[in-house]
Symmetry: C2
Subunit: 332 residues, 2 copies
């Protein structure tokens, strides 16, 4: 059968552009023994993918030029030569940006759409939800009464972090980039305060005003000057959870900023970088807790769903413009 | 009786100068009920004292202009109205820069000069030794075979950190500021490699060369560009122990440098600031272990002893010139 794929046609210099991607039609190989034929339903676009577009050593290898982009995908089994999967099963895995693909069962997970919509397994019940859970609970270690600040608060991770922090009895202040996001986070997601960093004249002061007892946990999804403003308000014995630095992903030179070590030292602050793979052995704990909170109605979720396979590159680029509220998903 | 004291006569702007201090003769009050009259033997000068010369909120209150500097002192009891101390006891405590003083027994500790020379209680068996021990063991958590880099390696803390790391089976690379220090650390203190940052043309490369398996623990006493070079060689899952930032203590503006968060994130690195007071409840563990290692000959120590009460300001200023090898002490 003929199908479509999207490949990395060239590496970006700074901000990625649509010309870094190319859509190809190609003839799919026949499925062999123990292989599975999948049809994509939902694709995840995530900020960390920007790093993979560079030719740089990191915790995941770079995308290869001329090869399809890969990422989180929810798909339907069209045909299976594996005893572990059958036709019409809904699965998730790290898969190529293709409308159809033939793969082995390695790393493929069957999902239960009775628990939540299939696309949630790319979000609150997938990598972003687990990232929120482990970063906040295992690094941030929130205690009731503490003040938690979340940057990128309306993103796929931030929107979950804020709600979990509220469940722990914390005061939660979000930072987001539009009045629409501010309104939604306060009215629908229970954030105590949300600051629009784009219209706020003095972010440092806005954080001082909304965090009168200083910041005990800073869950950082963005980096850069927003983080400088938060960290200048950091409390003694605070924890800074380094989850994302989206503000800097398109930098072409080493970004410079204030040296933080002296403040971290005199205030006995912990700063911890992490990737979700570190917690792989504890995923079932995280999935169990997130599923339970969802079922109990204690966690809400939000997706921005873009329609059409061809819109994948634009959806990914849109993350860096703040186009999404909650998880950005492409549905085919 | 008449005695001498050294007061802070004015706050420094940038690097402190001798004119920021003034020596006064004054008449000591008579000792009252439960008070103790002390004669100073050894004074500790420490880098953290620079911060107290500023009028800034920190973990210790600033020195007051016109009042004596205070710090770690070893002294002899000349007269005691306390049942807990008697004449000729040797004690240590946080005391004013005075040849004699009259104080209450609060915070005063009797020391056993049979275990180690009295001045060691200002160094390896005092705040610097405990700082080395808790920072390395409780934050760095060294494992045999790991690579540990120590900046300010010939200082009162660094010289102990390197030796403890060797006792844990680590490869230890020091960074120091003179060939004399390099030679001493390698030949007398067992460091595997020591880099003279002042004569090294490319510190980043020197660290890559001496740490072929990258840096698992960075015990940072200095900050600034030395730390930038080390951190660019940091390993996955590394720990950065923020103990001191002496390179920046005399800065008058916020020092700028490369933003580190993205590297800390992608390599899952922990950076933890601390002050020794955080570990107060565990001091007996630290003192016990350090005393044992000293007694067994597994830890060596080194002091730079300056003679004369009047030399106290010059000795403190000398820390910022790297004049000391090991602990800087003033003997009276």
């Amino acid at each position: 059968m003929t199908t479509k794929q999207i490949v990395l046609s060239g590496r970006p210099n700074g901000k990625p552009v649509l010309e870094n991607f190319q859509t190809n039609n190609f003839e799919l190989a026949e499925i062999k023994d123990s292989e599975i034929l999948l049809e994509a339903m939902f694709f995840s676009v995530d900020p960390y993918m920007r790093g993979r577009m560079n030719d740089a050593k990191s915790y995941v290898p770079p995308f290869e030029v001329g090869k399809p982009i890969t990422g989180g995908v929810v798909a339907k089994v069209l045909k299976s030569n594996s005893v572990n999967f059958k036709e019409n099963d809904i699965v998730t895995g790290n898969l190529p940006w293709q409308q159809h693909c033939v793969i082995t069962e390695n790393g493929l997970l069957k999902i239960a759409t009775s628990v939540a919509p299939a696309s949630y397994y790319l979000g609150i019940l997938g990598m972003p939800g687990l990232t929120a859970y482990f970063g906040l609970m295992h690094i941030g270690k929130p205690k009731a009464g503490e003040t938690v600040v979340v940057s990128g608060a309306a993103g796929a991770v931030g929107i979950v972090v804020g709600q979990i922090a509220k469940l722990q009895g914390c005061r939660v202040v979000g930072i987001a980039g539009s009045d629409e996001k501010v309104k939604l986070l306060k009215e629908e997601f229970g954030f105590d305060e949300v600051i629009n960093y784009k219209t706020c004249n003095d972010l440092k002061k806005a954080i001082t005003d909304t965090c009168p007892k200083a910041v005990d946990i800073y869950y950082d999804n963005v980096g850069g000057e927003i983080s400088d403003a938060v960290i200048s308000n950091i409390n003694f014995n605070a924890r800074i959870v380094l989850c994302g630095q989206i503000a800097l992903y398109n930098s072409t030179e080493t970004p410079m900023g204030p040296r933080l070590q002296h403040m971290l030292l005199t205030r006995s602050v912990l700063m911890q970088g992490f990737i979700i793979g570190n917690y792989q052995s504890q995923f079932s704990e995280g999935m169990g807790q997130l599923s339970l909170w969802l079922k109990e109605g204690k966690l809400k979720y939000k997706e921005t769903i873009v329609q059409g396979f061809d819109k994948l590159p634009a959806a990914l680029l849109g993350l860096f413009e703040g186009n999404n509220i909650g998880k950005m998903i492409v549905e085919v």
